[in-house]
Symmetry: none
Subunit: 290 residues, 4 copies
């Protein structure tokens, strides 16, 4: 009889325990001090479901919001928590940390401005990335880092990965602004803002060569063509159709490998919420070494 009880107890122990569907966590109001931008800069973060229970380090995706929005956009409108949790649960994404910095500054988005007075890009590379990698269990090699973003954040994604192919395994600009198509676009843009006298011709030229995605693509050195995996997506009704189509043509002509999608839709969160699972899948393929 005792043996039978023992066996039953053993069976009990071997039963699967209660399974609590594990979820990731989001924080939408964190900040770090910035010397470069002279003040606190906010960011939001997604930590994957096993972040607290495990002791491992994770790859990181930087996920950039669009103009007029802030670090909470991808959480509130983009549903980054439930979409990423679901992708991880279904094996379509690898557990990763997602960092969403606030670029709601009324300045030049994710770029250093023309006169070098507002240096957001420097903040991003010199302060934000090191802070994240020091504060969280985030891996710091190129192969474990990606960048993605929408609209103005798509422009940030393009320029960051084009400026620093040595830092990103994958880049996913969505409905991206693509910067000035030609040099004159910069001047016109400054005139519209009554700022046409503030910068020298050399500064304008440098800005153009730094921020024009077409220029950067057309001048990419051959040995960098396969440095970053690209996933570019822009709706057929998006007002940014021209820049994205021209970048696709330029990349094809330069033989820069890239995925390009034009799906049904415009410049809207409905489009980006359906893009996010594809981005997670694409980025995870990089983090998985395929």
């Amino acid at each position: 009889m005792k043996k039978q009880i023992m066996l039953l107890l053993l069976a009990c122990i071997m039963l699967p325990p209660a399974i609590l569907a594990q979820t990731g966590k989001v924080f939408d109001n964190l900040s770090l001090p910035s010397k470069i931008l002279k003040g606190e800069r906010k960011f939001a973060i997604y930590l994957p479901p096993d972040y607290e229970t495990s002791q491992r380090s994770y790859p990181v995706m930087y996920l950039l919001h669009g103009a007029g929005d802030d670090q909470t956009g991808w959480i509130q409108f983009g549903e980054v928590l439930s979409i990423t949790d679901k992708a991880i649960r279904e094996g379509k994404a690898t557990p990763m940390i997602i960092v969403m910095p606030d670029a709601n500054t009324g300045r030049r988005g994710y770029a250093n401005d023309i006169k070098g007075e507002w240096r957001y890009e420097d903040f991003f590379f010199q302060e934000l990335i090191p802070f994240i990698e020091k504060t969280y269990r985030a891996r710091s090699e190129k192969r474990y880092r990606a960048v993605a973003g929408l609209s103005m954040g798509g422009e940030g994604t393009f320029t960051y990965a084009l400026h620093h192919p040595e830092l990103f395994a994958a880049a996913c600009p969505l409905s991206a602004a693509t910067g000035p198509l030609v040099l004159e676009d910069v001047t016109r843009w400054m005139q519209r803002r009554g700022q046409d006298s503030i910068a020298t011709d050399a500064q304008i030229k440098a800005y153009y060569e730094r921020q024009s995605v077409l220029y950067l693509v057309n001048n990419m050195p051959d040995d960098k063509k396969k440095a970053v995996r690209w996933y570019i997506d822009c709706g057929d009704d998006d007002f940014l159709f021209e820049g994205n189509s021209l970048v696709h043509i330029a990349m094809r002509k330069k033989e820069i490998p890239h995925e390009f999608r034009i799906r049904d839709g415009g410049h809207s969160w409905g489009y980006w919420r359906t893009a996010l699972p594809e981005v997670l899948d694409f980025v995870s393929a990089s983090f998985h070494q395929f």
Copy 2:
């Protein structure tokens, strides 16, 4: 004794392994102090599944009960917990806070009364909303706030959003009372209650212009027509058919965008429980920026 142990163990083995999905939480007996209403006012609240594990702020929907009910109605009869949890789990609703105030006062529902002695509407805007946004991680911008309600609470929904289009992204009156159709309705209503001598003609006229949904719709300034997204629903067997149909006609003629549904059914919780998922979906579209 051993046999009993055996049976317990057997029961243990035969139980399915528990799988606990994360769920939201409801509290049905909270309160806040009100100077305007001179006393404690009760409210109930729904907090979304990730409220405790994440650190983010949420949009808020105010959900109003009907006459003869109190703050527990939407929880007990309306199944707000399981319906909202399910909608969030299936991606049909965004995580939100739902606030259900008690308007079971025996007075004029959600309105300030004719003589301004009982000012529930002032309480709602000057005390309840600030209290919620201070006490919970609730976002306080218009784009993150909605109001919905049934019957008397549908009248509250109509009037609150018509009085304060600057405060609500979406409004969803269900099986709504629509207030006096004509000025004489107010007098008749007061005569029925033996209160015809208590208010002046000016007070009655002011009350009519404040509480008649038809009057408010017909006098809406052009620049407010698209300020609030409307979802209006009333069963074909509901005794409130006339007011709702006339409001639909008036809104169409004034070119005020609105969704309008007449489904099969009457003035019952069965109707409102099937309306709630649609309300959550509609409100979430606002909170998602589509």
Copy 3:
């Protein structure tokens, strides 16, 4: 050995035979001679899946097209074949004959005109119905006859069933025109067409009292209120919102039992294709005696 063969043969017999999914048939270009309309009048017909294999008679639904269309509309745009086949296969509709007459005449739709020169309604009742019931295995009692239609055909549905409640078990006007709301609408309509001098006041009044759905509803004798089962459906974005909502209000006030739906949508085939299964279900309930 013989026993084994026997068993095998038995097994063979017991196997389900080949099942050929039976389908209904449509004919879109039939016609009948009309003395009243002085010429051939086209019609289309749907015969249910078992029409050829069985020898039974069927109930009939008359299904009316809208202005600018003809007898092929419900077949081509309305997918009456596949939708009815599916409803019958799934047990949601009873096998029935569906008759779709051509009212593409450039005249007053399904009505007799003001001066009685073009008498489509007389053709419908005195020639079409008898022709159908003589030519096809169609039952001829009221309990086996229904009428439905969209827009101008919804007006036909309303007026036919209001004029002849003794002939229809059920009537389903979809996105219906509801005729003149007031007497002056008739005069205005004739003036717009330069026909204001062709009819006498008595003719105009008679036409109004024959074609105004509101007038007919408001003057319905008490003993006819339950003579016809009504299913009325009109989208919230339909330009015919006012007439349908006012008919709903009038029927409620007159206590005429009716189903009324306002679903999401406008005046479009997408709306009517999703209405058709509900119509088939509602009409079949009549034909089934519930």
Copy 4:
């Protein structure tokens, strides 16, 4: 002998009971006489599942093959039978006739050639379409006619619908050749074939203005912009990326409504088989009047 009976019986038992769904029919080797092209021209046809049992007329889609292929391509490689049957069965396509003409001529595809000696386009409009509409129960109004095709057949689709917007409700070029981007492309193309002396400058110019999709789009009269519904699809790895992207940009700038897709893939039947269900869905929306 008995053993053979046994085996047959066994086979009988082991066969799954046949369930025969109604299916469409394809014919891949039909022909019509052509005076314009001086000889018999082949075509293939798909007739929908209810073509033989019903007596109705159907809308028609002309479906054009690519270079090096013939009228059997869409049947053999494109699986037009099973894909269309499935789409109809699932309610995603309306029953339609699909006509696949043979343009495997070694000449200029679906175009009239430069010197007007080989006039395939004239054959298509003056002989093929009338033949189909006379021989089959095909409707002949614009609202019931569509054209689609791949590669060289995509060019045919573009030019036919651009030349004759009064004849097509919808046009779906897939992985389309888009003709000469600039006038010089025509000359270069002729030089490559050693034909540079055969045509006059006027003929070359006329050919360019007839066959350049960009030229036709950029010179479309305003009142034709909404005449045809467009669905354009080209893989991100397709060698025809440039023309399709430039047409998308040109159509956006001219405000010509169109659907545009870039999906993952190249110039292959795998791409076109996954495009076909979308084409059927898009074309059916036109045939359904939405």
